[in-house]
Symmetry: C7
Subunit: 93 residues, 7 copies
């Protein structure tokens, strides 16, 4: 399994079909449009300047909104995931 | 419901009609023009370097002014919202 | 009334006519030229990294100089105001 | 042997063949695509502003994902290695 | 009178004639060339992150050198002044 | 002799011939390629915000790898040296 | 005399002739080439965020190397000087 470092989280992005049929979807104007997905793994948290770990707000199972161009895509056993920093998470649902 | 993370807030933008008929509206010159809306949800506050939460100034129900190009739009059950950082809020009315 | 957030202030800009007839006016060379106005509202002050409020230097009634391109214009009941950060205020008169 | 300084690590990149036959591989769309490799050496950790060493999360033997354009390549006795900063490591497997 | 905010100072620039006849003048090569003037007002000093005022080094009456493109020009009762940050002052004479 | 300031070090770059015949050499692809050399002098260390000196990791006699475009070249008595910051040193051998 | 502010120093640049005949001169390749000169005045030191002065490493009489494009030239009584920040001084000889 993927273990994200520091303040990164692993997200299973929602399917495109699922998004248009659900209550939340992305509007059609020019502003940055967030994506949504389910958190499947959470890093231990970033270390501050003293080397102390700062606890994460997001937890496994949360449905999160994040910027369209955030993060890094990886594929494990044919399944796509996205690794984003917690600071790129806009909100939970 | 949308729960914003850190120092983000969820705003219900004022209707365009309502803005021109009300006392406050946007002047027509070249400067950046703020928008207004009502705060419907408030994040817990950003964490400082020590990991301590810094309390929010803005609260649910406040009418806020924010930059025209601030934030991220989301739609829940056909209703538009904007998620902005508290630092993008210029003033309350 | 407009309540500015953090270290922002609300300024009533001086009329253009009033500026040329008064003692202080703007010279005609290529350097950045400041504008002047009267402070009508003052925010509580920015929060430092610990979340403590840092007190403002400027107070209501001060006549301030600020950069020509600073701030955000708003109109309330047909009257124009400018919202600037205290750090954009160059001097008081 | 190469001893990385501060918060750098030495990685033995995975072979390209090995990557396509394994469970994890890199998807074909436009997002930044991470690479993987095995950690063969770890620096002592960065020093914070007080001069204290902040311990490393990654350890020798970890399989790490890192950005495609991260780090500096070196060759020792005909063998290629990559030296990256720990902050460029996205996740371990 | 002009009261500069934070770590700003008000300078009365030296006349161009006075500069070429005095001991100190500006050389003719391509490097940035400093200007000189007399300090007529000094701000209270910048506030550090804790909100404590950091005392100024420059005082009223000092003759200062500053970068050619530093500061903001203002005119009071027909007299030109320059408002610069103390960090833009290179030296005193 | 050259005494480097703060966290700078003086390096005697390895000869180009010596590099291709030794075990370590620079690969031929597009990534940034490090150079190697021997440390002949080490500064006292940078001062942190409190003015305390932060001790150096590198010491005289170390063979170091550094970025191809790092540092400043100087020539003393016909001999070439390179002065680099310790943070530009990638690893020791 | 010129009194540099904060962490600035006043340097009397070495003559061009003197440089080519002395042991140290500037090599002819494309890298940034340092200049040398003698320190004739030293500022009190920069103030840290607390307002405490951080002592200078360089002292009057030191022969210093500095970047070719560092600092500001001034002329006093027909004599050229250079004012540079201590952080632009690479080494002493």
């Amino acid at each position: 399994m993927i273990k994200p470092l520091a303040d990164r989280i692993v997200v299973k992005p929602a399917e495109a079909e699922q998004k248009t049929s659900s209550g939340l979807f992305i509007p059609d104007n020019a502003k940055e449009k967030p994506m949504q997905g389910k958190v499947v793994a959470v890093g231990p948290g970033r270390k501050n300047d003293k080397g102390e770990v700062v606890a994460m707000e997001v937890k496994v199972g949360d449905v999160v909104l994040y910027g369209k161009y955030s993060g890094t895509e990886v594929t494990v056993d044919g399944e796509n995931f996205l690794i984003v920093k917690e600071s790129d998470v806009i909100a939970t649902l």
